[in-house]
Each structure stands twice: as structure tokens, then as C-alpha cells.
Symmetry: D2
Subunit: 408 residues, 4 copies
């Protein structure tokens, strides 16, 4: 009688079927720490602009694991030796590389959990899981931390052409419907190779790499930094900052147990204990958004006004330009609002604020290396015959100013 596998296949609208390679990975996926990612959207509030963009960090992580399996297959076919333990460690490391992301992806880091980065929290999760799984994640952690001596394994996890990017660009393009951001992860993986333990791209993949860089740039400006999404993200951060501010003054705020913990407790890298990690593992988009829904009716005018903006999708106006906004211009808007709402300057700054956004399309410090037919390695920025990739190494900076529509 044939053995039919237990559920080890996951449907993905992008890749078709994704198979889970073994039972250790199956168990990691089943763990509540990982299941939390089902409740964290990959793109934060971008769904206010692109209504299809509701995909989660869970799905992205699973997708990464799938692409990593492809990469291992391709490299082995090219006679790059990768042991089964190393392969497995790669799958685990990429699966968990973002597990430390807070609710709404980046918003938390800029408001209430800001003494510690999401990478550091990811590492804490990995270590906690390693204990539970009797040390079976040790190699994955080494690779993730860049402490394993085969560089390309780390580069598959984290570099300018890592598996993370290959999945998220494709996935975000797919679910937003911005087809122009679509990249050929398959082709890019097919062009991978390893020279002196470094991850390289074969020469004939050069146009694909160029295209990848341009597609990523397009996704940044058209999607990730889309002005409506940008406003929403900043309003969200301001809501959380305001809530934290009120909490520090012992104002009562309806919120879930986990969210209350993070609002009413000062968090630093030092005091981020096991208990903190456990509570963090119970905090997701649902805590945040349901709190905001309650706060719509809070007596604090700042908090409730900002909250209503998100829930009713009635956001601030935004101006974007290449020069910083003058203090004078900002100050004028601020004062107008102060007198209109009868609030003080500090409160007005929750509604009138300016900041910059920047994006560097390509970074020459850790170059993508092209492997020529003649056996030489070149930075893509130099190997590319014409497309002036060097120009793309200069970060583009833009400045934005948000303020309420009624003081336009």
C-alpha cells in the first residue's frame, strides 16, 4: 500500500505547489511563533492603495523557503557542494529571517518597540526555538549571523540579490497588480553560481540583474513609497507614538493585553526579556488595528482624530518635493492648525510633519558580482555595458510634508 504524505503541500497562487521538505521544518511552521506571521501583513497599510495587497509575512516566508529549495537544486546541478545539513539550515534561516517583524511590519519599530531592531528580535526567536528543538537550528543561526565560513550561504539569506528580495518583489508585484515590478526569480536563480565560496551571477544573466534592480526601484517609488501609503504609514506611527505618550502619563487606553504591555512598559534592548519576547509573539496587526478602532472615540483629540483617519481612509494631504520644506512653510501650516483646533504646537505636530524618504537602487559596497565567461568577477555596476548603474548608487532623497486637508 502506498504511503500518502500528510499535508506537506501548500498552495501558492504564484508558484503553484510548495512542498515542505521535512518534518523539522513542518514543526517549525506549526509553532505559534511562526503562525503569528499569518496575522502580520507584508506590506503594512499599502492595501489602502492596492486593495489586493493583503498577503502576509507567513506567505512570504513560505515562498522564500520554496525559492531556496530551487536555488539549492540549481547550485547542486552546477556541482556546488551543499550538504543536507547546510541545505536544511538555509531553509530554516530564510523561513525565520523576518520572524522578528512587528505588527504592520515596520510601524512598531518606529514607535513603541524602538530600542531594538527586528533583526535582533528575529535572532531572539531563533534562539528560543533552538532551545525547544534541541539545538537543531544551530547551523541556521550561524549562517543567519554571518558566522559560518561559506560566504555564499549567508549571501543567499542576505545580500543585494538574496532570496528574500527574489520573493518579496515578485509577491508584492503579484498581489498589488503592479505587473511592472514582476521579476523572473526563476531566471535569476538559474543564473546563480558559486566562485570561491561567493555567490555570483553568470554573465548571460546580466540583463536580468539590471532588470531586477530597475524593477525594485520602480516598486519603491510606485508602491512602497506611494504617497497615500506613505501618509497612512506615518499616521499609524503617530497614533502609536501618541498612545505611548499618553500611556507614559498613565492615561487609560483600551487595548489588548499584549499591546498594553508594550504601551505601558518602556522597552529597551537590555530589558527585552524572554517574557517580553513571549508577549511580542502575541502581538500582531489585529491588536493594533482593533485598538485604533477603539481609539477613534477616545477623549484625546489627537489620538481619536488620527485613528479615524486610518479607519475611514480619510488621510492627510501630502506634498512631495526634491528640496526640504522650509521651517517657515511648515510653521505656518502648524499655526493655522493650532488656531483651528485650539491645540498646542506639540499636538499640532502629530498632524503637520515633514520628513524625507530615500532609496538607493544599488549599493556598491556589497556588490552583485558577475562571473564572465573568461572567469573574471566584476561588480555589476561595471559589467553592465551601458545602463549607467553607477548613477543608481546615489541615493535618491525626496521630502514630504503632511497636513490636514482643511488647512490646505
Amino acid at each position: 500500500m502506498p504511503k500518502t504524505n500528510k499535508l506537506k503541500i501548500i498552495n501558492d497562487p504564484i508558484y503553484g505547489f510548495i512542498s515542505i521538505p521535512n518534518s523539522l521544518i513542518f514543526d517549525i511552521i506549526e509553532h505559534p511563533y511562526f503562525q503569528r506571521l499569518r496575522r502580520v501583513t507584508q506590506m503594512g497599510l499599502s492595501n489602502l492603495v492596492y486593495p489586493g495587497a493583503n498577503h502576509t509575512r507567513f506567505h512570504h516566508a513560505i515562498g522564500c523557503m520554496h525559492l531556496m529549495q530551487k536555488a539549492v537544486r540549481v547550485l547542486r546541478m552546477k556541482n556546488v557542494e551543499i550538504s543536507d545539513d547546510e541545505a536544511n539550515a538555509l531553509y530554516i534561516a530564510i523561513l525565520l529571517h523576518d520572524i522578528g517583524h512587528g505588527a504592520f511590519s515596520h510601524a512598531l519599530e518606529h514607535s513603541i518597540v524602538n530600542g531594538i531592531t527586528h533583526e535582533e528580535i528575529s535572532l531572539k526567536f531563533m534562539k528560543a526555538l533552538n532551545e525547544e528543538f534541541d539545538g537543531k537550528l544551530t547551523l541556521a543561526i550561524q549562517i543567519f549571523e554571518g558566522k559560518y565560513d561559506r560566504a555564499f550561504l549567508y549571501q543567499l539569506i542576505s545580500s543585494q540579490l538574496d532570496i528574500d528580495r527574489l520573493d518579496y518583489l515578485k509577491r508584492d508585484s503579484f498581489f498589488t497588480g503592479v505587473a511592472e515590478g514582476n521579476i523572473s526569480s526563476d531566471r535569476l536563480i538559474a543564473m546563480m553560481n558559486v566562485v570561491n565560496e561567493e555567490l555570483v551571477i553568470e554573465q548571460k544573466g546580466i540583463y536580468s540583474v539590471e532588470k531586477f534592480i530597475i524593477a525594485r526601484r520602480l516598486m519603491y517609488w510606485q508602491v512602497y513609497l506611494h504617497k497615500t501609503g506613505l501618509v497612512a504609514e506615518n499616521v499609524l506611527v503617530n497614533i502609536l507614538k501618541r498612545a505611548k505618550e499618553l500611556a507614559m502619563k498613565n492615561v487609560e487606553l483600551p487595548a489588548s493585553t499584549s499591546l498594553k504591555y508594550f504601551l505601558y512598559t518602556p522597552i529597551t534592548k537590555e530589558n527585552f526579556s524572554k517574557k517580553t519576547l513571549q508577549i511580542f509573539s502575541e502581538l500582531d496587526d489585529y491588536d493594533i488595528l482593533s485598538a485604533i478602532k477603539e481609539w477613534k472615540n477616545h477623549e484625546d483629540l489627537v489620538l481619536s482624530t488620527l485613528a479615524r483617519m486610518i479607519i475611514d481612509r480619510n488621510l492627510l494631504k501630502v506634498e512631495i518635493q526634491e528640496e526640504p520644506f522650509t521651517n517657515k512653510y511648515i510653521g505656518k501650516k502648524c499655526m493655522k492648525l493650532q488656531s483651528l483646533l485650539n491645540i498646542d504646537e506639540k499636538e499640532a505636530e502629530y498632524f503637520v510633519f515633514s520628513d524625507k524618504i530615500e532609496h538607493q537602487a544599488y549599493n556598491t559596497n556589497k556588490p552583485i558580482k558577475i562571473y564572465s565567461k573568461k572567469g573574471k568577477l566584476k561588480d555589476i555596476a561595471k559589467a553592465s555595458d551601458q545602463l549607467n548603474l553607477k548613477a543608481l548608487t546615489k541615493p535618491v532623497v525626496k521630502y514630504f510634508l503632511c497636513y490636514p486637508k482643511k488647512i490646505m
Copy 2:
């Protein structure tokens, strides 16, 4: 200087660009009642099985409006007269046809908001909006209620081959990645026509209709009634029922303001006031799921145990068969659990329960009519040359039994 439109284009990964036909519809979409649909998933907890299935009722409604525009264009090209007012009413009616759906789509209707159907609530919303928009929705409401004298307009909104189905089958198939459920909405719309004010399908569309019926049937059994999703849905309903039960006993339950209202207030069709509607309009998936997250730690064993099942995706076991389960078999499971957890029978029934699921692939009462080249109208079940569609008119019934894994 050319006039460039305000944001009137929405990206859809399925259809590309969707344009909003006019400013009335733009304003309806902007209304908080409609914006709430952004926070109600189309497929409830199916994302526990199909991780891509996070699309919302908002997106579905917008997609329907898009297909409706196509249908109007096709019918007009075939010289079916549709006035601009009628077209507009169609867009509004289809946009709002599901606005009364509660959080997690169907779960609420079977637990805490069960004296009134979602269709009735949809109608209440439409009437409330009609007041706000000075009667501009009157014709849409007439069509939605089936009170307008041109039958095909109603049939486009609600029939066995309505625009609703054309969008949701395509959309659910797309986001789950179950490509086999994909239907050709374009082709089906291209085959539509109107005879004696009835919506018909031209003869050459017969295979497409067959295929549509089979695809829908496949989606039911493979996706909508997928056993894991089925368990999750039932556990969710039981959580809400238990919560309501506790609330009626005045047990304190952490919950959002809106959810508390529906837990602690008996709702009937009669007392579903304007105030109730307003509170309903603030209730969405986030209220439910964040409450469940809190209830994981509630002192009531039944509530907390069920809640953990959903959050950690560690669900009940399910058996499915074609015959009802015997009371004896169920009773035995129940008693085993009672003694294991030291709970009474009524409590045990939250974990051990049986019910039936059924699906009728095709209903001859309101047939899909095929219009032959010779000018005759036939029920598709008769027009189809061979595929025994009559067999599909018999509802398929299956029985399921759920119980905790530990008493397997």
C-alpha cells in the same frame, strides 16, 4: 491644459485597472460603511488552508462593479437598451449587494447576529445611504429587491449566473491558487443577451456554462468546504456562541465596544435599529479576532480552549462521510471528553459536534436559459447535449463529526 482625473483607477491583480465610472459611485466607495469591507475577508478562515486567500469583500465588490460595466457594454453592443440611470443603478446595486455581511463573512450570522440575514442588513445599509445621498440609490434598491420591471437587471445582480458569482469564483480561485476553479468571466459575459427582458446565454456559450457549473462545484468541495476550513469555521462559530452564552450570564468578556454590544444585547430583526446598524458598521474581522486572542486566556475552559485552537491553528479532528454519524458514536466521543476534561455534556458539545454540509451544483427552479440559434429558450440542464446536468440538481449531502485529537 488637459484635465487629469483624480484617483479613479484601482489596481486589481486579476483585471488590471478598474475605473470608477462617476463621482456618486466614488463617494459611495469612500463612505465608512463601504470602507469597513476592507476589514472583512471574503473567505473567512480559509486562509488557514490557502494562505493567499486574504482578499476582502471590498475588493470583491469593486471587482463586481468592473464586471458589471463589461456586461452593460456587451449588452448595449447587442442593442439591448439600458439607460444611463439603469446602468448606474446596476453598478450601485452590485457594489452594495454584500455590504451587510458581518465579520468573517458567515460566522456572525450563525452565532451572535442571527435574527436577521445579511441580505436584510444589506438592504438596511442601502436605505441609510439612500437618505444620505438624497434618493440617488432608489433605482438601485428597486433592482436589488427585484421590484423593477425589467427582470434581467435583477438577474445580473442575483441569479445562478450573476455577476457576483462571476467575480467571486474567479477571485477565490486566483487568490487560493486553485487554478482549476478559474472561470472565463469575460467569455460568459460575452455570451450574455436579453430576450423578453430575461437574461439568457447564447447557444455557443453552452460549454462555458457547463464549465462554470463544474468549476463552482469543484470550488465548493475543494475550497469552500475544505475540511480544515470547515473545522475552523465551526470552531469560530462555537467560540462566538460560547461567548454569547457567557455574556447572557453576565460573565465579563474583554471585547471591543462594538462586539460587546452584540454579545450583551439580544438582537432580533425587530430591534435592529439605526443605532444597531451604526454599531454593526463598526464591527469587522479585527474585533472578532482580537477578542479571540484575549479569550485564549479567559478563565472559562471552553472559551479559552477553543480560542487557542484558532490562534495557534491547532484544530479539531474531523471525519467526513456520506451517512449521518450515529448518536452512539458521537455520544461515546462526548463522554470520553467529559471524563477527560471534567466538563459537563453541554460543554463537551462545543468540542464534539456533528452536522451536515450540502451543495447543489445547479438549481432548476431558476434555470440558466440558453438561447438557441433558432430563437428558442431552454434550461441549460436540457440544452446540454450530454453532460448529465440533471444529476447536478440533486443536492449532495455529507456529514461531518469534529472532536479533539486527544480523544481520537
Copy 3:
């Protein structure tokens, strides 16, 4: 220095990248016998209806090889033992299963090469290649002929759910743009298993199989037997028949060397020599269509009139019905044409002709077997709970009558 593979990757718009598993298969693909398939369209003259349908037998064969690799991978994961030699033989057998197809796929078989089937010619090609490749195709030939003792290997090549169908339905659906014919080859393969050396489908694949049968049926009636394609195919056959008739009377016909051979030489199964095979291997769509272009201006009225119909896509009219056309009705059309063109009855029958088309959606003689969870095997026609697949076992027959538009 890393070894980068020679061209062993083929781009496929459907599957992405297809890799060629080894150098023997690479060499078979490079062989002129196989390269000929680049010049034989998969769907004959269907591109007169579906302009995207220009894909070739070459591409289909390569696609089959790709799916076969997937099937082998899936079965091995389920612990079905398949040796490397067997796997390789499967790839070769599926690659060459259609190599005996003549120009325009089926047209030749019904006109000038009609003493021998395309399967018999495929076998001749395989044997010729086996000689060239020192016996390395022996096992592939055994499997292809059904003479190897593991039945499932043959069933993967030829059965109601073989790899051939899994590719061509998907491919034809893709290139015609008839999305409704799309099937999930991936899912069907994922559901394959082997019991007692028989190919079976696991129970949860039952809806996918149903869907596959319905999709195939739809493709037959909507695409393969599309009335315009049907007329074109029949006109093509008539052109070749007329040409052969004229050739037998020693009328001179411009044609390529290879085509002349088949026109002026009577071909039987017995005299289909090595030389005949060699000439056959040089005959493709280009010989046929370029001859027809010349024949547009031939002095034989029948030949030139038919030829113009194809080239200018100005075809005969066709009527289709469920009953045979009466001789009286056909005769009347025929006589009208005779007097109009001043031709005799036999000549008129090249323009006025009736025949039947039939399609059996499912054949119970060699059933698709479903493997239930309880370990039983059932014919899908019985396992399917409701969809009356039995009804689909009855062949559907339709009758058509073609005649020139001017005698309508």
C-alpha cells in the same frame, strides 16, 4: 572554476524553464528527425480560428518531457521505485510518442499517407533512432509498445490521464486563449500514485479529474471541432485527396521533392521502407502549404478552387446537426453546384460533403482509477459522487454538411 552547463534550458511560456536531463536526450532532440517537429503545428489549421495557436509538435514533446520529470519526482517521493534507466526511458518514450505525426498533424493520415497510422510511423522512427544510438532506446520502445511488465510506465505514456494529454490540453488552452480548457497538470501529477504497478489517482484528486474530463470535452467541442477549423481541415484533406487523384493520373503538380514522392507513389504499410521513412522525415507543413499556394493557379478547377479557400481563408459554409443529413438534401446541393460550375458529381463531392464528428469524453474500458483512503480502487465514473460521469461515456455524435457559400 565552476562548470556552467551548455544550453540545456529551454524557455517555455507555460512552464518557465525546461531542463534537458542528460546528453542522450539532448542528442535525440538535436536529431533532424526530431527537429522536423519544429515545422509541424500541433493544431493543424486551428490557427485560422485561434490566431495564437501556432505552437508546434516540437514544443509539445518538450513540454511532455518536462511533465514526465515532475511525475517521476512525485512518484519517487511517494516511495514508488523507478530506476534511472526506467526514468530515462520514460523521457525518451514521451518525447518521441508523436514523432510519426505527418504534416498538419492529422490531415496526411486521411489523404496521402493512409495505409499506416502515425503510431506505427512513430515506432519506425524510434527503431531507426535506436540503431543510431546503439540500442539505448530499447527500454523506451518496450514501454511505448506496452511490452514492459510495469503497467504504470506505459500508462504514463498512454492512457486516459497520460502525460501527453496533461501537456496538450494545457498548451492548446494557453495558445488559443481559451482559458476554460486550462487544467492543473501540476495538481493532477501531485495526485498520482502507483498501486500494484497500476497508475492511480488519490481520492482527494477526484474533483481535479472530473474537471480534467470536462475541460477536455470543452476543448473538443469548442476548439478541436470548432466549425471553421473543421471545414478547413476537411478542405485540406480534400485538396490532398484531389492532388493524389490527379497524380495517379499522371497530371503534373508542382510540389517539393518529398511531397511528390508521397503523391506519385502508392504508400502501403508493407512498402513503407527505410527510404520512405527518410523522405517522410523531410515532409512537413511547409511542403504542404507551399504546394497549396502553387495549386491556387493549377488548371484543375477543383484543386485550384479548394486551394484558394485555404490560402485566402474563404471557406465553405457548414451546417451541423444531431441527425444525419438526408441524401436528398445533400444531393440537391450537389446538383446545384454541378450545374453552376459545370462539373461532374464526383468533382462536386469535393465541395459538398457530409460526415460525422464524435467525441467520447470518458471511456470505461480503460478507466481512470481512484485510490480511496481505505485502500480501494474504483473507476472514477463510479467514485465521483454526483457528477454523472457515466453519461459521459456515451460518445456524442454530430453530423456536418459543407458546401460553397454561393449555393446556400
Copy 4:
């Protein structure tokens, strides 16, 4: 009784359904001149590299017409006035813009029909059709020739962002499976507008235009100038040149009537008569390829050797570099071949030859204009904030050298 349209819908795997706007256009499509395009592949011999790339000029022209309908709809929605006559002229002009392309697209122009460009032949076809259709193509011809006073109409037909490119890049990307070349024609069209009768792109479309330019560049180097395709194209041209050379010496060559005409008659722009046009209209890929198949066995060694290379896909070797090859290097190869095959230098040059390929990604002479929110027009090369588009205005030149493998 409803009127159902005659066949006016064409299936396209890319766009879904394409509808034919009116009966004049229907009749033009039916004309043998246009039907010939069914037998001319869009991408010449690229199918030797990308086996899916068998799409035809017919399909491309139809696709263009479809996109043009979209463009007209978008512009009208933005209040750009386009009369029905102008719209119709646009459809006709784009439908016929490439009708003068010879067999295998570009090969003929560089060998046997080289006194006249394909654009000139297109114009001849349009004028001939205009006579047949009683002057109804007059406006289309004016626009096509750039003689109509509304510049944007011409720019839709021919510019750096014309409808032609929007279709062929998308189509070629689709059928080759090189997904990275995919562009969002829909988005680009949605961003079109008209200022002072000039076609412009709105500012928010800037990233899409960049992406379009990069995608086109990628398609050139990865697909259109793919080295195997390049060799095949050059061998094809050499075959035709050799044939013409032999024909001029009155050597007998098997060929179709039309091809013979072009081989044995010197063609110049001056003597390209109506009769020549008629014969040209009967010359397509089938004439060329079937002749080449015959020439495989021609007694002329050069002709037969080259012919076999194409048919058996056993091509010359190619080297590509950024500097010209030295005469010395080429001469050495040449001499080696001369002595090997015992042929003279001129004959050897059919096998050993060098040339350059070049591509200019963007041309500032006729810039793509970006229309800023503040109402200014800028060349995209200047409007693009960072991507150094100026770098892309410099043509990239590469040199290639072909020679037989045996003299490597």
C-alpha cells in the same frame, strides 16, 4: 429577437477577447493582402531559440488594433477630442503599418527585395487597398505618412512609445516566455494624454516609461539579438543572397512561382509595379522555407550547406565582442575554410563573416515627453530623477564573427 453579431471577436491569449470595431475593418482583415500576414512570423527564426515564438504579424497587427481602441477610449475620457473618422483611421493605419513586411520579417529586405523598404511597400499596399475600398483609407494614409495636422495621431502610430511597440514587446515577451520583457501596455496607455496636439505621458507614469525603455533594451540583447537567432538570421540572408547570385547566372533553382519572380527579376524601387506588389503579396515564410528545404540537395555546395544548417538547426559558431574583429583574424578563418572545402574566397565569405549589431535604447531626437503636474513638458531623459537615461541614448555596438564549427 436579439441580434447576435457575426464573428467579430478574436481570441488572444494575451488580451482575452479582441473585438473588431466595424465592417470596413472586418473587410480589410479578410482581404488576401492582410491574410498573408498569417504566414509571416513576427520574430523570424527566433523560434529556433524560443520555441514558443511562432506568433505571426497577423496576430500582432490585430493586437495593435486592440490597444489602439484602448488608447482612443482613454484619451477621449480625458476630453481629448477624436472624431469617429480619426479613430477609424487610427485603427486602419495601425492594422496596416507592417503589411509591407516580407517573409521572415527582415530577411528579405537584406537580400532579394532590397531596393525598397518595408515601409514603402506598406504604403503601396495601403494605396492599393484604398482604391479597392473607394477611398475609405485616405485619412489613415495621411496619418501614416505624417501628413495629417494633428501630430499625436501620427505619434500613436510611430514614435518611441507607439502602439506598435506596446504590442510587440508584450507579445514577444509572452510567446518567448521571457517574462522580464513584459511591459504594462495598459498602464502606459492609461498615462497617455495630449498637450498642444502632442502625445505626452503624465508625470506619474515616469517609472513605467523607464521600465518600458529598460524592458525593450533587455529584449533586444536577450531575445532579438540572441546569438543563435543572430546566426540563423544571417545564414538565412546569405542563403537568399547566394540564391539570387545563382539566379542572376541563370542557374536553375527550385522555388515557388512568386519566389522565382523575386530571384530572377532585378527589383528596384522604380520597377516595383502593381504586378510586383501582387506577387509580393503571395510571398511568405512558406515560399522561403520550402525552397530552402529543396536547396539542401542543390548541387551548389554553398547553397546546400547553408540550407542544411537552417533545416537541421546546426548553425555556425559565433563570437561576439565589443571591438571589431581584425581582418587578419577573419582572413585566417577564411583561408582555413577555403582549403578545407576547396572553395574560393568569395564562397568562403558566405560562411565566415563579421558584422556589427547595435541598439539605441533611447533616442533624444524624438523624445518621449513627460507632462508634469505643473503643466510643463520635459524629455523623459531629463525628467527621470536618477536613472541615467542619457547614458541610454548612446548606441551600444557589438561585433560578431560567424564561422563553421569545424574550423574553430
